[in-house]
Symmetry: C2
Subunit: 196 residues, 2 copies
DNA sequence: CAAACTCGCTACATTGGTGTTGCAACTCAG
DNA sequence: CTGAGTTGCAACACCAATGTAGCGAGTTTG
């Protein structure tokens, strides 16, 4: 009977050993990457991508569902960290938008996973918090006249995320820097294809 | 041993009987809808959604893969029909863009499926043709100065599809008409959130 | 160094999705 | 109406993915 500490996905009772921590990260990163390309990917495929035996995945995560849960939590945590860094409440809104874009693009995690968890309860809170902070930034953009004052904020946020998704795909092809792509995203978002 | 005519996914050797045709459509539509929400959906779930026994699905489509194939072909056909209707080569480009948007939105099919088939050969041709016609329309938009002349056409097309995707999601929530949403898409695409 | 822990590996049980077959009841086309 | 074709249903074989368990070898921690 193994301790199976990690079944609590993140909320560890006692600290993980160094190697265990490494394995955990490797699995989460691999899962993130593999599942983005194929949502129906096997635990075996994930294990292979992580350079780990399949049984180890089961040791760390009680079930496939538990792994998904951990993935989402991990991703949300990374997201909030990115938002914190961009200081959307205090920095000049256009600057914050650029920083936020670059951060999102750097955290290469795909967003297809966001399609999975809206049915969950636990994360709903975190997601709402993230959405609210994004909406607040766009409110500031509207107030300062950077975008039309009567902009539908819900639509604005959705378009923002859609553009980020495309930018991330583009990154894989062109190899552009997050900063370049962030500029492209903000430019397209604010001024459309008509340009400045 | 049943005829299994439909295993040839569309390229029928002899015409289908009326009821068979109906079933076929029901399955394709149901699959389109169910798979959009859950790419790993069971054939059983698809059959249920189509109001059909699971074995019937197998009778019409040799395998799960064959069903996917048929889905893609069906969707591509609908797409080309929409493009034809919008006359992107002859109509005023902005008008064509609006028509195209409304058409795409009406053909409610989700685009998550587009993530599946880029690995295929047979469809690559059709997809390239569709992409080319879209690119041509955006070229005309650039030539007439509706969008910046130096716009990256590849980026433009991708953004266009991303906006369409969001518009389709929005339609499910707000119930807006395809025309209203098409206006929103073209406006956002050309002028961004800054408005006209 | 030594105890505690982790990993890879092998083997196995279980489950759920896939695909097949045959038959009786029904529906369509001519 | 009649024959050909189609469907639902039940029963079945098959397989791949999931999840479990134990052991020996290797790693970390104190």
């Amino acid at each position: 009977m193994q301790p199976c500490v990690a079944a609590y996905h993140g909320r560890v009772t006692r600290p993980l050993r160094a190697d265990s921590e490494r394995t955990m990260r490797a699995i989460l990163d691999a899962a993130n990457q593999v599942l983005a390309e194929n949502p129906a990917a096997t635990l075996q495929q994930i294990a292979d991508a992580a350079g780990v035996a399949r049984t180890t995945v089961h040791r760390r995560f009680a079930s496939r569902e538990a792994l998904m849960e951990a993935l989402v939590l991990d991703m949300l945590a990374q997201l909030e960290a990115v938002i914190d860094d961009s200081r959307p409440e205090t920095a000049p809104p256009l600057v914050a938008l650029h920083e936020l874009s670059a951060g999102y693009i750097t955290v290469k995690g795909r967003w297809r996973l966001t399609d999975v968890h809206p049915t969950e309860f636990e994360h709903g809170e975190a997601i709402e918090r993230i959405k609210a902070r994004n909406r607040a930034l766009f409110q500031r953009l509207a107030d300062t006249g950077t975008i039309a004052p009567d902009t539908d904020l819900e639509w604005a946020v959705r378009v923002f995320f859609a553009l980020l998704h495309e930018a991330i795909e583009r990154r894989a092809v062109t190899g552009n820097s997050p900063d370049t792509l962030a500029a492209l995203v903000t430019s397209t978002l604010v001024g459309g294809l008509r340009g400045v």
